[in-house]
Assembly symmetry: C2
Homo-oligomer: 199 residues x 2
DNA sequence: TTCATTTCTGGACACTATGTCTATTTTCAG
DNA sequence: CTGAAAATAGACATAGTGTCCAGAAATGAA
């Protein structure tokens, strides 16, 4: 076989243990640092020191801090999709992926809080928002004879739902996820299904 | 990391024209820059050049970029509270501040989009979230005999509502606020009042 | 085991940004 | 007009970024 230029940052599934080990160290280091300080105040050098990895090595794997963080989210997303896939076999009514979401979030709460919490910042949130938007959109199917007003209503409904869900999720996690996934999901289903009656 | 607190116009609420002029220039410069690039990529120097203000002057007014941004939000908040105060005199059912919110946002759309949009980032959002949370909380009054479960339900409802509202607002603004404030508010009131029926 | 290949490494480099300080000039209010 | 306040350029120390290299170390395969 002729040579293959395999740069560390390549898409190719890494066989080399060193690569796996290095990346995992960096992932973990970032997570643990985010628990201690504001994301913006963490430097690449800090991460490398915490991970015990050379700074030049960092850059052969990730373009910067943000990419490292994104890669952490990809892992969560992948896990969630698998979970959702299982969940969809059972239920068919309403937003049936949300219970799986809350369960998943609770299991990986440290990971989630670090990446999606208040301190986590914008990158993670918009990424999570993308994920949730896809899921919600697939629940609200489009009528073939959709008018422009319908389109507006539908999109508004999607944005409304995603915002509500994400907000509830974040609040629950930030307060230590004291309630069970079932409880928080019940609350969500009730609110999204029946609406809110003020006063 | 700023350490020294220095506010030139502290003693009397800025009488000096120079102070007012400088601050306004910096505010405007930031807003216009945020429209062009990512917030993080904007340096204090960039802002100063755009505002035609010396960099050393900048630091006599603000501790850094973030504080400049926050001060911009304070202005919006103040205006919104005044508006809300007027709106509450003509009391209707439900969340009666939201129409005022949408109207206000549309009028100051450039300001809002820059500070609250996707590119705006985390500072603005959490600030706006605080504002909305206060408003929503005041709508959902607490029963005197509230149980622990009630408290959970109430807080969940608040977080749900704020998230939905903020998400809808952001989406509307980011897409150019094509619909009228009345339309978007109707959509919100309908969704929050009646819930969402998927499929 | 040996060995070619890949990865990791520290240190050097050029670069951009931050925040503070000072001496000087400009602008303001009274 | 005048003293006080504000704005300024430029210098400074510090810190972070991203790239590059040559050598050391680990790895998978033979």
């Amino acid at each position: 076989m002729p040579k293959k230029i395999t740069k560390p940052g390549d898409r190719r599934t890494s066989i080399d243990r060193r690569v796996v080990r290095t990346r995992k160290s960096l992932q973990d280091a970032l997570i643990s640092l985010i628990h201690k300080r504001e994301y913006d105040t963490i430097s690449v050098d800090d991460i490398c020191k915490a991970a015990d990895v050379g700074r030049s090595t960092f850059y052969t794997h990730y373009a910067g801090k943000d990419e490292l963080k994104r890669s952490g989210l990809e892992i969560l997303h992948k896990e969630l999709r698998e979970r959702q896939h299982l969940a969809q076999k059972t239920e068919t009514r309403g937003f049936n992926f949300t219970l799986a979401l809350f369960e998943h979030a609770k299991e990986r709460i440290d990971h989630f809080r670090a990446l999606a919490g208040n301190r986590g910042g914008a990158i993670a949130r918009s990424e999570i928002q993308n994920i949730l938007t896809k899921l919600v959109r697939s629940e609200l199917t489009r009528r073939p004879d959709e008018t422009q007003t319908d389109a507006f209503q539908r999109e508004a409904t999607i944005q409304f739902t995603v915002g509500a869900l994400q907000s509830l999720l974040r609040w629950w996690l930030e307060n230590g996820a004291k309630q069970s996934p079932q409880e928080i999901d019940d609350a969500f289903q009730r609110l999204i299904g029946n609406g809110v009656a003020p006063k």
